[in-house]
């Protein structure tokens, strides 16, 4: 009997193709993940070169850390603001730019262009625009409005960071929505109109259900991205004023890299991972209820 049957050859070929990706995933995803959990069980002072096992001490510290509730609140506020504004605006823009009108291509390019701009450059420019004597307030001054000190006030700092991030990435979700909108069969619209359905009914009963898989995809991407925001906070506010914009990633960066508490920083990373995982699983489960034609 021939050992190298077609089935075995196919299997081997498949494994060979998968192996490089598998090696990469193990080396750069799974091993670091396990290491971070291992580090979270240690007190690690890089300068003193000490690495002592402390068990669940860092998790106890986390539960008692008076900063953590504020940090989680700021994180939730940023994520909620970003998701609502980004998805809402992206959908509105996509619907508007899906019309067959002259000039829509120009607007599509205009709204998408921030996506390809360097995040750091984008944030630095916005930092100048948002300063007290910056471009935004100069414009408001022209129309007789005394603008606030956007990045220095607890009431406006978080909103400013959210808006900067929304303008940066709304184009990406807009393009995804556009692609989804263009995939909706036109005959469904024609049938609905023949039946006398108004624009809102058409949008609610046909458009939304048919682009719901894309809404699920973009919401997962946006939620996960919002929980990992760092550069914008680092450049614009450094977590301030007070600790009003200290989100979880920025807090773990401070603990690990600025305060040299790598063990505690790892603990915060584990918590962040669990939050992202839980939210992703939750959204994935919700697809059964919200996503149309989900296989």
């Amino acid at each position: 009997m021939n050992y190298w049957t077609t089935r075995r050859r196919d299997l081997l070929t498949g494994y060979l193709f998968v192996t490089p990706a598998l090696i990469g995933a193990v080396a750069f995803v799974f091993v670091p993940l396990v290491l971070v959990v291992w580090y979270s069980l240690h007190e690690w002072n890089v300068l003193a070169d000490t690495f002592d096992f402390v068990g669940t001490e860092n998790y106890r510290k986390l539960a008692e850390d008076p900063q953590v509730p504020g940090v989680l609140r700021a994180t939730a506020l940023f994520s909620a603001g970003l998701v609502v504004l980004n998805l809402g605006l992206a959908l509105v823009l996509a619907v508007l730019l899906n019309q067959r009108l002259r000039g829509t291509t120009v607007f599509r390019v205009l709204f998408f262009s921030p996506v390809v701009v360097s995040l750091l450059a984008w944030t630095i420019v916005w930092g100048f625009l948002l300063q007290d004597n910056g471009g935004i307030n100069a414009f408001l001054d022209l129309v007789g409005i005394d603008g606030p000190n956007w990045l220095r006030s607890e009431g406006t700092a978080m909103a400013s960071v959210v808006v900067v991030q929304v303008f940066k990435n709304v184009g990406l979700n807009m393009v995804l929505f556009l692609a989804a909108l263009q995939g909706v069969p036109q005959e469904l619209y024609e049938a609905a109109r023949t039946d006398g359905a108004g624009p809102w009914t058409v949008f609610r009963r046909i458009t939304l259900p048919l682009i719901s898989p894309t809404i699920l995809l973009t919401s997962i991407i946006t939620v996960v991205g919002s929980l990992q925001v760092f550069a914008q906070i680092s450049v614009l506010t450094q977590g301030g004023p007070g600790t009003s914009t200290t989100v979880l990633v920025y807090y773990l960066y401070q603990q690990a890299f600025q305060f040299h508490a790598f063990g505690y920083g790892s603990t915060l990373s584990v918590v962040l991972f669990l939050i992202v995982l839980a939210l992703t699983v939750l959204q994935w489960q919700m697809r059964k209820k919200w996503v149309f034609h989900e296989n």
Binding site: V46, L47, A48, D132, N133, R152, G240, F257, Q258, F259
Partner: protein, 410 residues
């Protein structure tokens, strides 16, 4: 065979990448991290390294300039990642952590003529009597004044006993009001790095914490008085730019700035007339504040012994005199107007005497403490409510102590 050849070449390349330089007697490349990418600085460093190579042909020194904003974080991350530099510059704020942690190799045998070093300059860099870091730059803060702007506003710079904080702010306020520019900028403060406020509050005899680092000083009366003065200067007198307002003295956008003398190089092609004077005296009299940069050899570096040897050369009396062009040296023999004038052609001998030499002799280093990054962050957050027009200064400063007391007690 044609299919195997590229794979073999790739394997060969990977193998080649894995072969590091010899740790023993072979060629050595020392990596030294700095926070300056200033071409003039880099040129001088490379010249010193080239001189060294003439007597140590196997040693090459690579200078790695890291951004100042997250310099210490980057070096710490390199250490955590098992890739520490051999030699590192260290900011005065991070000095207590680096010195106390044991991360640095003692330098007593690696510094030429240590008896020449000013005791005030080395205080922060010693542990148990041993020199752990070498303060290659001991730079006092002074006040740069745009005399053209003052003239335009009809103001004259107070001198002698009249050079007080009250008068300095009065001139800054009047100049700002008359010219539409800003008055006095505390450079690098930006309502975030509060340690630069030591250049003001030390004039009231205030300090962030006691000399032993255990007691918070923010709720003490001298600090309350100093911060009340500062708050009034910002929000009532408008003599200092408000939070969120950027103004660069060196671009001619303000009347005065508090900065270190190394910034004088920014005025090389200045479009306005300027002068440099010491910090104004406060209610507690004249004083000086120093910022320091130290040099340390990382014990975990790959070539600690070779690094210590290079540090000896880099900090020798001859090279210290060359470095004095940008970095005021800690060597007492070089702290004289004649030596410093050669290195600082933009400054007059009396400016060097008043600001630099006297400043180093009497100056006190900016606030530093073990765990300073965490403390600084806590102070910054707790001070934020102060930077509003209607702030309750005493209450805010009390809140600062509440925030940092547990950290000072560690």
């Amino acid at each position: 065979m044609r299919k195997i050849a590229p794979i073999a070449a790739l394997l060969l390349l990977l193998t080649a990448c894995g072969t590091g330089e010899s740790d023993a007697d072979g060629p050595v490349t020392l990596r030294m991290t700095t926070w300056s990418a200033n071409p003039a600085h880099v040129e001088l460093f490379n010249a010193i390294a080239a001189d060294y190579k003439t007597t140590h042909p196997d040693v090459t020194v690579a200078f790695e300039a890291l951004p100042l904003e997250n310099y210490t974080t980057t070096v710490t991350t390199q250490i955590a990642g098992g890739n520490p530099p051999d030699i590192a510059w260290i900011l005065e704020g991070a000095a207590p952590d680096f010195v106390a942690s044991g991360a640095l190799a003692p330098l007593d045998d690696s510094i030429e003529n240590t008896a020449d070093l000013a005791p005030a300059a080395t205080a922060l860099w010693k542990q148990d009597g041993k020199l752990i870091g070498y303060p290659f730059s001991t730079s006092p803060f002074g006040v740069f004044v745009n005399t053209d702007l003052l003239k335009q506003a009809g103001q004259t710079l107070p001198v002698g006993d009249q050079w007080t904080w009250a008068n300095a702010v009065a001139v800054a306020r009047a100049t700002a009001a008359e010219t539409g520019k800003q008055g006095l900028v505390i450079r690098d403060f930006d309502y975030k790095d509060w340690t630069n406020l030591a250049t003001v509050f030390r004039g009231w005899g205030a300090d962030a914490w006691s000399a032993d680092g255990k007691t918070c000083g923010f709720d003490q009366q001298p600090m309350i008085d100093a911060m009340t003065f500062l708050h009034r200067a910002v929000f009532t007198d408008k003599a200092l730019p408000a939070p969120g307002v950027a103004a660069d003295f060196f671009a001619g956008e303000s009347a005065m700035t508090i900065a270190q003398i190394s910034r004088a190089s920014l005025l090389k092609d200045g479009k306005f007339a300027w002068t440099l004077v010491p910090l104004p005296s406060g209610p507690s009299g004249a004083y000086s504040v120093i910022g320091q940069g130290g040099l340390g050899v990382l014990k975990k570096g790959k070539h600690a012994a070779a690094a210590a040897e290079f540090v000896k050369f880099f900090t020798s009396e001859a090279n210290s005199a060359k470095l004095a062009r940008f970095f005021p040296p800690p060597r007492q023999s070089q702290l004289n107007a004649a030596t410093l004038a050669t290195a600082n052609p933009l400054l007059k001998p009396e400016q060097l005497q008043n600001v630099v030499i006297d400043g180093i002799a009497t100056g006190k280093v900016k606030p530093s403490h073990t765990g300073s990054a965490e403390i600084n962050q806590a102070v910054r957050s707790a001070l934020d409510p102060l930077w509003k027009p209607d702030a309750d200064v005493t209450a805010v400063l009390g809140g600062v102590c509440t925030a940092i007391d547990p950290l000072l007690a560690k």
